[in-house]
């Protein structure tokens, strides 16, 4: 399967570029990045232990004295053995441990709400596109406003209304600290309760784009001959709408998933920051505020690699839905 091989190759290249960019960024600063960052840490009021220097050196691939190339391979080596250095904020916890605790929260929150937004948006988009020329056309401009609202501001408003004003949902965190994290009903319910507002934020802010994209593709697809043929064939409109129009119209949405996912993930970072949700976004904010470069860079990498992985999965799904890609050149 050439399509598959090409896709995998592409994501490997993308991952490699991301990793290299991650290595290169600190080097774009003038001077020795480790010294500069240590100085900045000190200015921030943190006590700089000798270990902090080593943590930074590992993260930046600077422990050896060799030239850039040697450092680069050292950095790659560390990466593959899972050694991303030690967090400065949560010293001396390894970065990987910090991430391991945060990642599940983000994966579940962003995963579920993205899926929800996608299904909802594509569903409504299909319907609105099918009934174009009716009052439903008015739905599109409305969602424009919705999707123009910045994630974090919507988060603030929801937090203000439901958390501070009506007090139906918690103000911060991922679960009640009275509960024990694990597979028990109490904890899961509390986690769900905490996830409602951040989840809603992500769904609200991203559903409009899916809807609009799908609506427009539906409108384009409806003028295709095969839709006309389906109509002439006397098929039921449900069948025409789903198997002939929507089935084809959704393909670009799925192909475009890669692009959109990046936005959703970006948006979820600020959303988590607002809700102090214990996911990667919140940890990133902590890292930013504490000049915790090892953590920051690791998060960038993890987010990027996760997004790439998700995209690969969606591309595989695409090849299942669109038979033409299976043997594309």
């Amino acid at each position: 399967m050439t399509y598959l091989r090409r896709k995998i190759l592409f994501y490997l290249v993308a991952a490699w570029i991301a990793i290299t960019v991650n290595f290169a960024i600190p080097r774009m600063m003038p001077g020795n990045p480790v010294d500069i960052l240590l100085a900045r840490l000190q200015q921030g009021g943190a006590t700089v232990l000798p270990q902090s220097r080593r943590a930074l050196e590992t993260a930046l691939g600077r422990s050896g004295d060799g030239n850039v190339l040697v450092q680069y391979f050292e950095y790659l080596g560390n990466l593959f053995t899972g050694d991303l250095g030690v967090s400065v904020t949560y010293f001396p916890t390894p970065v990987l441990t910090v991430l391991g605790q945060a990642l599940p929260w983000t994966l579940v929150l962003v995963g579920v709400s993205t899926l929800l937004a996608f299904v909802l948006g594509v569903g409504v988009g299909t319907f609105v596109g099918w009934h174009r020329g009716t009052w439903l056309d008015g739905v599109a401009p409305t969602t424009t406003f919705l999707s123009a609202i910045p994630y974090f501001w919507l988060a603030l408003i929801l937090l203000f209304l439901f958390g501070s004003f009506w007090q139906v949902f918690p103000l911060a965190g991922g679960y009640d600290y009275d509960t024990t994290p694990g597979l028990n009903a109490e904890f899961l319910l509390s986690a769900l309760h905490h996830a409602v507002l951040p989840g809603l934020t992500i769904v609200f802010s991203s559903v409009g784009a899916w809807m609009l994209g799908m609506r427009n593709m539906m409108v384009s697809t409806l003028s295709e001959d095969y839709v006309l043929t389906a109509e002439a064939k006397g098929l039921r409109s449900r069948r025409i709408m789903l198997a002939y129009a929507a089935r084809n119209a959704v393909l670009p949405s799925i192909a475009g998933f890669a692009i959109s996912l990046g936005f959703v993930v970006s948006g979820s970072i600020v959303t988590e920051a607002v809700f102090s949700y214990p996911g990667v976004g919140y940890v990133l904010l902590q890292a930013v505020q504490n000049n915790d470069y090892p953590l920051m860079q690791a998060i960038f990498l993890v987010i990027t690699l996760t997004v790439l992985g998700a995209n690969l999965a969606v591309d595989l799904l695409h090849s299942v839905i669109d038979p033409r890609t299976r043997k594309a050149e």
Binding site: G133, S223, E224, D225, Y226, L228, T229, A230, E231, A232, K233, G234, L235, R236, R239, A243, Y244, R247, N248, L251, I321, D322, P323, R324
Partner: protein
């Protein structure tokens, strides 16, 4: 059934179009089809010809209730005659009735089969869809059997059932489209430029297939194309459209030998005949009129070498001209064959089948 045009003796209508008009809504509405009267006989192949934009496809779409805005029917009726003598007013059908009627009695093979087949469904799924929509009681095995049979009928290996459209050649796709049209054994098949996108060899094969299937199954065909040579070969009867109107119709042989309308003449002369002399090849100078105009004159007048005053003042009706060489066969909308309006008998050169500028001596003031 005999493929020879024996229809004339036991001709009975299967589809009647009366006064059909279609507009494209715009700032100035475009009158794409204008008061078309046409009848299709059971089992006959009717060729519908004309240059692009003459309204032939629009007419077919209208009859099949497939017009989409901005196009819409502004007048006329379409009646389908069932074999048992019952009649269906096609424009009166609505909702579920319309859905059931579709494909059942009238089916259509669209221009460019690549776009008419859903790219993400297998051939089988698209064939079975028809059965499922119209005969929901049919079980899986029966559906599969019928689909395989249909592909065989049109000369495609039934193993192709599980192929996707992009895996088939152009000719195969068109055959699949024909199979799809035949699923419910309709009485009428509309074919809109079914062979235009195909190369000549495949085109031949498809035409032979259509003729064979028609002989075998006895359906009537409305064959739409701008390719006159093709129509002469395949049709029993031909209708010529110009600027939204039928300007002439009649048996293929008669039309070829003694075309009445100068436009038909022009069309016949604008392609090389394999047997005829190569010297008489002409194009038709001039352009089609603006379809947004409501014409109270002969639409072809500007381009017509036989134009006279009456042509600019009055629209010629589509009627039989029993005194013309055509006799009782067919109708034409041309003043030249009506001495009471034209002033003289039809010009000799027209009767001789010459499409050439009128000579000064022939002009009667």
């Amino acid at each position: 059934m005999n493929t020879q045009p024996t229809f004339s003796e036991r001709w009975s209508p299967v589809l009647t179009v009366r006064g059909l008009s279609v507009d494209y809504e715009a700032d100035r509405p475009v009158h794409a089809v204008r008061e078309v009267d046409l009848a299709l006989g059971r089992g006959e192949i009717l060729g519908l010809a004309g240059e692009s934009g003459c309204g032939k496809s629009t007419l077919a779409y209208a009859v099949n209730r497939l017009l989409r805005p901005p196009a819409h029917v502004v007048g006329g009726e379409v009646v389908f005659h069932h074999a048992d003598g019952a009649e269906t007013d096609v424009f009166a059908l609505d909702g579920e009735q319309l859905r059931r009627f579709r494909w059942n009695r009238l089916a259509m093979v669209f221009q460019g089969a690549m776009n008419a087949l859903n790219p993400v469904l297998t051939v089988r799924a698209q064939l079975e869809d028809v059965i499922r929509a119209h005969e929901p009681a049919t079980d899986r095995r029966e559906r599969g059997r019928r689909c395989a049979e249909l592909l065989e009928l049109v000369g495609v290996d039934p193993r192709r059932l599980d192929s996707y459209p992009h895996e088939l050649s152009g000719g195969m796709r068109q055959r699949v489209m024909i199979a799809m049209a035949l699923v419910l054994r309709p009485d009428v098949l509309f074919m809109d430029e079914p062979t235009t996108a195909l190369d000549v060899v495949v085109q031949r094969e498809i035409l032979a297939e259509i003729t064979r299937l028609r002989a075998e199954l006895g359906f009537a065909v409305v064959f739409i194309t701008h390719d006159m040579s093709l129509l002469l070969e395949i049709s029993d009867r031909i209708a010529i459209m110009y600027a939204g109107r039928v300007v002439e119709e009649g048996g293929t042989e008669r039309l070829r030998r003694t075309p009445l309308h100068p436009y038909t003449l022009g069309l016949l002369r604008s392609f090389p005949s394999l047997t005829g002399d190569p010297t008489g090849l002409h194009g038709i100078p001039g352009r089609t009129p603006d379809l947004a105009e409501s014409l109270d004159r002969c639409a072809f007048a500007e381009r017509c070498p036989y134009r006279r005053e009456v042509c600019d003042g009055e629209q010629p009706p589509l009627v039989a001209h029993p005194d013309s060489p055509a006799g009782a066969d067919g109708r034409a909308a041309c003043h030249a064959h009506d001495p009471s309006r034209y002033g003289t008998a039809p010009p000799e050169s027209l009767l001789r089948g010459e499409f050439r500028p009128i000579e000064e001596s022939e002009v009667i003031r």
